[in-house]
């Protein structure tokens, strides 16, 4: 076997690919497609930041409105979970199984944890401007969580775990004491 011939020079497209050339040809006759934003070079970025700084900053009122919007979204988020949970509850049935017990556990845990972490959840939205308005939002959040909790309680009741009926308290009811005792004479 003779020595292999030297490889041929790579084609142009390989060279193009390997050289990390500018993404944009220097002087392209074609404009960028609509909606395309070319990645900026450092210089351009500096320029553009200058432009942003130039843009009018939002007022605190606008910020507060925005934050309130966000907070409201967060507040009604638990309610969006409810239909899903309800379907899950319905599917698991009223018997005591590992699945239903697990679901109910999460159903109870989530609202309680959520309410416990109330301040932390709403801390990003708490500004001097929003703090007054945020109380209502928090109340709605708590309410929504309570609705989730109510679903859990309803489920537990369906499963017969709540002592709501007379039979649950039967053990605390006593037999009547009779003030007479009658026996056949031969027993005396």
């Amino acid at each position: 076997m003779s020595a292999p011939p030297p490889p041929p020079p790579p084609p142009q497209w390989v060279l193009d690919l390997e050289s990390a050339g500018s993404t944009k040809p220097k002087n392209s006759p074609l404009p960028d497609p609509p909606g395309y934003t070319a990645s900026l070079t450092r210089k351009e970025r500096a320029q553009s930041s200058k432009v942003a700084a130039v843009r009018k900053a939002p007022t605190p009122e606008e910020m507060d409105t925005l934050k309130m919007k966000k907070a409201w979204e967060l507040a009604i988020a638990p309610a969006k979970q409810l239909p899903m949970s309800a379907i899950g509850m319905y599917m698991t049935g009223n018997t005591l199984q590992i699945f239903s017990i697990f679901m109910i556990f999460t159903l109870f845990k989530t609202p309680v944890m959520a309410v416990a972490g109330l301040q932390r959840t709403f801390a990003p939205f708490d500004t001097p401007g929003t703090s007054g308005r945020l109380i209502g939002v928090k109340l709605v959040y708590i309410l929504m969580n309570l609705v989730g909790l109510a679903l859990g309680i309803w489920k537990v009741n369906q499963m017969g775990l709540l002592p709501t009926t007379r039979s649950d308290w039967l053990a605390w009811e006593g037999e009547r004491t009779w003030s007479e005792r009658a026996v056949p004479r031969e027993w005396l």
Binding site: L170, E173, W178, S179, R181, A182, P184, R185, L188
Partner: protein
């Protein structure tokens, strides 16, 4: 088909607590009893002509025919008479026959000797059988076919009948119209002698002997023996009969000094004098009963201190009787038995100490065996018996005697050794109670109570002192541990019964005290297979009384025995059987709680009447008078101890039906014979108020109507008259439940009030409330003669209705779920009803074989079943008595609080040991690995 399916489903759903195979014969016991055997009807006999071994046949004093294997005392077969027939019970068997013939009352029956099957039965209406003999020979020729029976009838239609041995048909009848009292019949090879007691208007009774032809039954001859006013009634005749060549008749004077003997068929009377010295109390004549045996007999004289005997020979040609020899007088009591071997006659003398065999020919002792006593026979002496003797070359090589001892034990002495004993004194128990022991727990409770009154420091010191005092039991407890563990793993350790009862963790060892008709008292330990702990004869405490049907009541540590013929009552220690004088005990009533007024009720002149505080006021505070024509046949009250765990029944939708729990409920059963009606009245026995009534028509009122009441339900069963034209016939079981209100979650007119009184109802809240009664009736396949309910400690376990079925000789425990009166009728149960365990009503309840408590045992003549709590909640103790004795324990909701026999304790221990060993091996490996890992990182 659907009906069957429904039943099968019901059986699956109801937790039918069957007896497990490995529990059978361990948790239960059965005494298959006969009663005290009769002397003249107990004999050894080969069950069929070619048989090698013989069986022991007997008829007992309560007319039960029993056949026992002489080897081990096991019962081969028995037949109990279904009715208490008048007249003596008789049992005879011909030589080489495969049947035995019995007579009781007006019934003559032949049974297959080997298995007890009925061969034939004849009834002579309106007469009682006085005597029965087998015609061994006819005109001197032994009949090889079935031998005929000669029956002597008395009471109404005196006469003699010859019954065909194969079919029981009458061959001939000789009627006696003379008005004599028939006494006995005796056969000789050529003649049948009919002996009657002729009582003329003036003067003493005379014996009249009539000879009959065996072939035609015609009267051949008749003569009268003058008895010189010795014989007043049949009790004065000592002996008559013996189917020997020379049948005898013997009587004595009132003072037992002169013995007069006549050879039947001759007119001469030989007179002999009883031995002088001690006054003779009783004379008994023992003679062989085989035709071909020598005409020798033995006369036994019993005195107050000892007994002696003379042997006489009969000269057949001259018709004379001569004394051959005397057996020496012995101190103490004893008995003689006669046995034959070919023509030879042997007499066996049995005393408590030894057994001796002599030949009838000479007084030389052929064999002598000292008797090795057993605890069961301690202090008892032989009363009567029967023997089998093997004689080889003029010496007796073996003898076995079935002897009835004075303490009621029937035992077999084989060559001086007690082979077996059967406790026949236990038969016919009329009353039984669970003995209450003086409890240690109670003492502990008192001590703890005492602490409550003190201040903290002194109570603490008291507690510590008590614990230190308890330490004295510690070494013994420690020593016992290996035994207990071994006993647990391997099997039972032997302990004395009383000890067992005191140190019984599970409370299975309970004493039952039983008393028989004749006044014999015995204590049985139900936990250790009915072991007889002690037994005594009540007659020793009151010699003058003849006991008829004693009744008992249990108190802590003692029982009280009462009898109609007994003045006052006898108090007996429960654990020792010793007599307690009435001064030593304080009679306390454990019935009424504090603050309750006690009312007692009783049947007075056919009415049920209630009395306030028995002693002070004799006037009835209420009277229940049944409607005209009705007769109260029984009443059942709720037991004193009837704990109820839950006062309501939880429905499928978790609502509550409140139970009507009145401790004073009494169920009264009445019948009207003329209209064949049975009625049941539920009364409140404090006020006499009628709470519920139900009436049934077309009832066979002659059959038993059993009933029981417990908790908030009662049940009864009766037989529908077979003559009536109703659409359904048979036996019915009715179960009813009482609730405070028909509505769930409602406590009725009384509301939540914690107190109630029916005697003085408070105004406004209507104390006179009647319960809401739900009732359902089922057809059952068999008659129920008695029913009761299981009892547990706290009443948490569901109850079982225990019914006694006399037709199949069994006891069945019906689960409450199967007889729930709330079973839906005509429709399938809803989901909620299903969750309550209710199944669709089926008009017929078949007794599931799994419900039978007695499995293989045959319980004959069960009169009553009593139940008691055990130490654990799941289990109830059951004790049945009557002719037989049976005990078991039942767990209606399964044994949920105790390991069953199926639990492999050995495997568990091995697993623990294996795990321990593996841990020992693995621990160093792990440790090394952990250290290495620390070095390498």
């Amino acid at each position: 088909m659907r009906f069957d399916a429904a039943l099968a489903l019901a059986a699956c759903l109801a937790p039918a607590a069957a007896v497990f195979e490995d529990d059978a014969h361990h948790i239960d016991f059965h005494y298959a009893l006969l009663g005290l055997p009769k002397h003249d009807a107990t004999f050894f006999q080969k069950p069929f002509a070619g048989s090698k071994a013989s069986l022991l046949y007997t008829i007992s004093q309560n007319q039960t025919i029993g056949v026992v294997n002489p080897k081990d005392g096991a019962l081969v077969w028995r037949q109990a008479s279904s009715h208490d027939g008048a007249g003596p019970g008789l049992l005879r068997s011909g030589e080489g026959q495969d049947t035995v013939v019995s007579a009781a009352g007006d019934r003559i029956s032949a049974w297959s000797a080997s298995d007890g099957r009925l061969v034939w039965e004849t009834r002579v209406a309106g007469a009682t059988v006085e005597d029965l003999e087998i015609l061994e020979q006819e005109d001197g020729i032994t009949d090889t076919e079935a031998k005929d029976a000669i029956v002597l009838l008395g009471n109404g239609k005196p006469g003699v009948k010859r019954l065909d041995g194969k079919t029981g048909r009458t061959k001939w009848t000789f009627e006696d119209a003379s008005g004599d009292t028939p006494f006995q019949v005796s056969t000789s090879p050529t003649t049948i002698y009919y002996i009657s007691l002729h009582t003329p208007m003036i003067g003493a009774s005379k014996l009249r002997v009539t000879s009959l032809s065996p072939i035609t039954g015609k009267k051949l001859d008749q003569y009268t023996l003058s008895s010189d006013s010795d014989i007043q009634s049949r009790e004065h005749i000592l002996f008559a009969g013996a189917n020997t060549a020379a049948p005898l008749i013997a009587w004595t004077d009132v003072a037992n000094k002169v013995l007069k003997i006549n050879i039947i068929g001759t007119k001469g009377v030989s007179t002999f004098h009883a031995p002088s010295g001690e006054p003779v109390e009783r004379i008994i004549l023992h003679a062989p009963d085989r035709v071909n045996s020598l005409a020798h007999f033995l006369v036994e004289y019993q005195t107050a201190v000892g007994h002696s005997a003379d042997v006489y020979h009969v000269d057949l040609k001259k018709s004379t009787i001569s004394k051959a020899y005397s057996l020496p007088a012995l101190k103490g009591k004893g008995t003689f038995t006669t046995s034959t071997s070919d023509a030879n006659v042997y007499f066996t003398r049995v005393t408590a100490e030894e057994v001796t065999v002599v030949s009838s020919v000479s007084h030389g002792v052929l064999g002598r065996w000292p008797v090795r006593g057993t605890p069961a026979l301690a202090g008892a002496y032989p009363v009567h018996g029967t023997s089998e003797v093997v004689v080889k070359a003029d010496s007796a090589t073996a003898v076995r005697s079935a002897i009835l001892f004075s303490n009621g034990q029937w035992s077999l002495i084989r060559n001086g050794e007690i082979a077996w004993t059967r406790p026949e004194f236990l038969s016919r128990v009329v009353s039984a109670v669970w003995a209450e022991l003086p409890e240690e727990e109670e003492a502990l409770a008192h001590k703890l109570e005492a602490e409550g009154d003190r201040n903290l420091v002194s109570a603490y010191i008291h507690r510590v002192e008590r614990h230190i005092r308890d330490l004295e039991h510690f070494p013994a407890w420690l020593q016992n541990i290996p035994n207990r563990v071994l006993g647990n793993v391997i099997g039972k350790s032997e302990e004395s019964a009383i000890e067992e009862i005191h140190h019984d963790t599970f409370g299975f060892h309970k004493l039952v005290i039983v008393v028989t008709e004749r006044g014999r008292l015995a204590a049985l330990d139900v936990g250790s297979k009915g072991k007889v702990v002690w037994h005594i004869d009540l007659n020793q405490f009151s010699p003058k009384t003849t006991f008829h049907s004693p009744s008992m009541r249990a108190f802590a540590g003692y029982v009280e025995v009462k009898d109609a013929s007994l003045e006052g009552s006898i108090y007996i220690n429960s654990t020792t059987g010793g007599l307690i004088s009435s001064q030593d005990i304080e009679v306390r009533s454990n019935v009424a709680a504090e603050g309750q007024s006690l009312i007692s009720f009783d049947l007075v002149d056919g009415d049920l009447e209630g009395f306030l505080d028995t002693k002070s006021s004799p006037e009835a505070i209420w009277t229940f008078e049944p409607p005209k024509g009705e007769r109260i046949i029984s009443y059942t009250a709720r037991p004193v101890k009837d704990p109820v765990a839950s006062i309501g029944k939880v429905l499928g939708d978790r609502r509550v039906l409140y139970k009507y729990l009145n401790p004073n409920l009494v169920l009264v059963t009445t019948v009207v014979e003329s209209s064949r009606t049975a009625s049941v009245y539920l009364l409140d026995s404090a006020s006499g108020q009628l709470l519920h009534t139900s009436s049934h028509r077309d009832v066979d009122v002659s059959r038993p109507i059993s009933s029981t009441i417990s908790e908030n339900w009662f049940s009864y069963s009766f037989t529908i008259d077979s003559k009536s034209a109703t659409s359904s016939r048979g036996y019915q079981l009715v179960v009813a439940e009482m609730y405070e209100s028909p509505l769930p979650d409602d406590r009725g007119p009384l509301g939540a009030s914690p107190n109630a009184s029916t005697l003085q109802p408070s105004e406004g809240n209507g104390d006179a409330a009647k319960p809401h009664v739900l009732l359902q009736t089922w057809h059952i396949p068999e008659e129920i003669s008695h029913m009761t309910v299981t009892q547990t400690r706290q009443g948490i376990t569901s109850r079982e209705l225990l019914v006694t079925l006399p037709a199949s000789n069994s006891i069945v425990g019906i689960p409450r779920q199967a007889i729930d009166p709330r079973r839906p009728i005509g429709r399938d149960p809803t989901a909620q009803e299903q969750s309550e365990g209710l199944t669709k009503y089926t008009p017929m309840i078949l007794f599931d074989p799994k419900w039978h408590l007695n499995h293989k045992y045959e319980l004959i003549g069960v009169k009553n079943v009593i139940t008691s709590e055990s130490g654990i909640e799941s289990t109830s103790l059951v004790f049945a008595y009557g002719l037989d004795i049976f005990g078991t324990r039942v767990a209606p909701s399964f044994a949920f609080d105790i390991l069953g026999k199926g639990f492999n304790k050995v495997q568990m221990l091995l697993t623990v040991v294996a795990l321990f060993v593996s841990v020992l091996f693995v621990a160093p490996l792990v440790q090394r690995k952990q250290i290495n890992s620390l070095w390498t990182t």
